[in-house]
């Protein structure tokens, strides 16, 4: 359990983190999301006592980080995987950690194995590590002490697709066993797939937080549904849909229709047009994210609760013609 209350950090006249409050619960993966320079790393550094806060406080499991005895046994931290001595071997870096934390040396091999660093790779000096190898080593270091809480700054940074998928599984399993995970990213789709809860931060302020579904639904309510459809006779289908008074935007292969998918299906069935592809477009968190972290901030809106409705310009159906098979990703976590 991580609790951040009214956290503010200023550098001179610049406020890097502005009155941030949130909670990360055990058993959940919390994604900390924001564009570059939003204040994610600063918040995490305050959490682990490396940066003193200007105001507010941050506790882990009810304790200030600096009050934790042997904190590596309770909190796994990865802030910057390349912040290690370039002249040490990967194995040596883990050995130092294990020694300090009072762990058996077998733990080093276990962790190297867990993150798939071979003995040969682990015996190289860190300056010869690739970005992804450094990242794996950093994750291994965070997991060394078998902590109950993980704080990871951009853990997927530099990992290959298999590595990202592995990490996703690792963190989900970790949370399922009751662990608390806070991870940051500026890549939405990354967080979307791992996190149960999301905290969106922009310009140092939290602009939205809540579980993923709530965030998505709060956003869906504000816009018209959009469906893309491909049929054997797009022209006839478009005509039929227009006849229903629906707004249709034809593209080279597909039609974008401003209504629910079921409506399009019904029209197609009535006119006996064979459908090849029919899907409802989830504009997803991407839009929400971009909106919340840019426009609302500049326009001076206050951050809102999970049900907060963004005040951005109303978005109709996609303006440009959808290219081929709709470019939108299905949202794995969202109801279909």
């Amino acid at each position: 359990m991580i609790t951040v209350e009214g956290l503010t950090r200023t550098y001179g006249g610049f406020t890097a983190v502005d009155d941030v409050s949130f909670v990360c619960r055990p058993g959940r993966v919390t994604g900390f999301l924001g564009p570059n320079g939003a204040g994610k790393t600063t918040t995490m550094r305050v959490l682990v006592g490396l940066t003193p806060p200007t105001r507010g406080r941050a506790t882990i499991g009810g304790h200030l980080y600096r009050d934790l005895p042997n904190p590596g046994r309770h909190v796994g931290v990865l802030l910057d995987a390349s912040a290690q001595h370039g002249g040490r071997t990967g194995r040596e870096i883990l050995t130092l950690g294990a020694t300090a934390m009072g762990l058996p040396m077998s733990r080093v091999d276990e962790m190297l194995h867990l993150v798939s660093l071979t003995p040969d790779e682990a015996s190289r000096r860190l300056r010869h590590f690739s970005l992804g190898m450094k990242q794996r080593l950093g994750i291994a270091h965070a997991l060394l002490g078998d902590p109950q809480v993980l704080i990871l700054d951009e853990p997927a940074n530099g990992l290959d697709p298999a590595g990202i998928r592995w990490m996703r599984g690792l963190l989900k399993g970790y949370a399922d066993r009751g662990g608390t995970v806070l991870l940051s990213s500026h890549l939405l789709h990354e967080v979307e797939q791992i996190a149960d809860e999301m905290i969106l931060i922009g310009h140092g302020r939290i602009v939205a937080q809540g579980d993923k579904k709530t965030l998505l639904e709060s956003q869906r309510a504000t816009r018209t549904a959009t469906t893309t459809v491909v049929s054997l006779d797009n022209a006839r289908l478009a005509e039929a849909l227009r006849a229903r008074g629906l707004q249709v935007t034809p593209g080279p292969d597909a039609l974008a229709v401003a209504c629910e998918a079921v409506e399009v299906g019904r029209v197609a069935a009535e006119h006996q047009v064979v459908l090849v592809d029919l899907r409802s477009v989830e504009s997803g968190l991407e839009d929400l994210f971009l909106e919340l972290t840019s426009t609302t901030q500049r326009e001076g809106h206050r951050p809102g609760p999970p049900g907060y409705r963004p005040q951005g310009p109303p978005q109709g159906p996609p303006q440009g013609p959808p290219q081929g098979p709709p470019a939108y990703r299905p949202q794995p976590g969202a109801p279909r």
């Binding site: 058993g27 550094r45 006592g49 499991g61 912040a83 370039g86 962790m111 798939s116 592995w166």
Partner: protein
């Protein structure tokens, strides 16, 4: 998510032990703080586990052997002079005095230059304790190198005794102690500068300035401007150390010079440096 997680990627590591807590509060009553001895052990390891650190120490050992070996060669050709232990250790001490402090200072500054401070202070947030562990590890290293100095000197004496029999086995306790103080004051000056500056080149420059440049400058000014001479002696670390090294620190004035120089060049910068480290934002 109803699907169980399959770690689908290549790694098939052993499963993690279950994170133990589910409530909002973590019970830390069963966790012992990291003992000081373990922190010292880690710091000693850090001094030796990089090629830079290892070769620096190895090079110092080799230099000691070369310098004392030189005295040995002189002794082998000069049967008329009696050689004492201190003839070897003093010369070796002049090798150690500038180099040993750099090894110890690196223990502090490399945490910043290599950015390992983030991991170090996340592992042990009691920053002062970490710095004390570094100081203890540095002192142990300095002791070990001093031991090398004496062992090599003894070996050289043995050779002389066997081949030339021109050895004076008498040792002066105060002289030996003086050498140790001489070396350890240098280490302390560099350590204090390191905590204050947190930067390797600046620390080395400051150390060399305090130990070599300032004494020369102070002595020169003192020679030209009589009123300054007495005051300057309190800043002249070399001058203040000289009676210590020769085992003849006895007058109250000499003690005064020595203690004030220590206060100015070690205690004050160390106190400021510790404050800086405790307050610093670690990046």
């Amino acid at each position: 998510m109803s699907t169980p997680y399959p770690p689908a990627g290549p790694p098939q590591g052993p499963p993690q032990g279950p994170p133990a807590h589910r409530g909002p509060v973590i019970d830390v009553s069963q966790t012992a703080p990291i003992p000081f001895s373990r922190l010292v052990k880690v710091e000693l390891r850090k001094a030796l586990d990089t090629s830079a650190g290892f070769w620096l120490l190895a090079a110092i050992a080799v230099l000691i052997i070369i310098v004392e070996g030189f005295v040995l060669v002189v002794g082998l050709f000069d049967s008329t002079t009696e050689f004492r232990l201190v003839d070897f250790t003093t010369l070796g001490g002049y090798v150690l005095q500038p180099l040993l402090p750099i090894v110890v200072a690196l223990q502090v500054t490399s945490e910043w230059s290599q950015r390992t401070a983030m991991v170090t202070f996340a592992t042990e947030p009691r920053r002062l304790v970490v710095v004390y562990a570094k100081l203890a590890a540095g002192a142990l290293l300095a002791l070990a190198m001093t031991l090398v100095l004496f062992v090599v000197a003894l070996a050289c004496l043995l050779v002389l005794w066997v081949f030339q029999d021109n050895v004076d086995w008498g040792t002066s306790v105060s002289g030996t102690l003086g050498l140790l103080v001489f070396l350890f004051v240098g280490v302390a000056v560099a350590f204090a500068a390191a905590t204050l500056l947190l930067n390797t080149p600046a620390t080395i420059a400051a150390f060399l300035a305090v130990v070599y440049a300032v004494p020369t400058v102070v002595a020169t000014i003192g020679a030209l401007w009589g009123d300054f001479r007495d005051f300057g002696r309190y800043l002249n670390l070399q001058g203040a150390l000289y009676p210590v090294l020769s085992g003849s620190l006895d007058t109250g004035e000499e003690w005064g010079h020595f203690l004030v120089a220590l206060l100015v060049w070690v205690v004050v910068p160390l106190a400021l440096g510790l404050t800086r480290i405790v307050r610093a934002e670690v990046k």
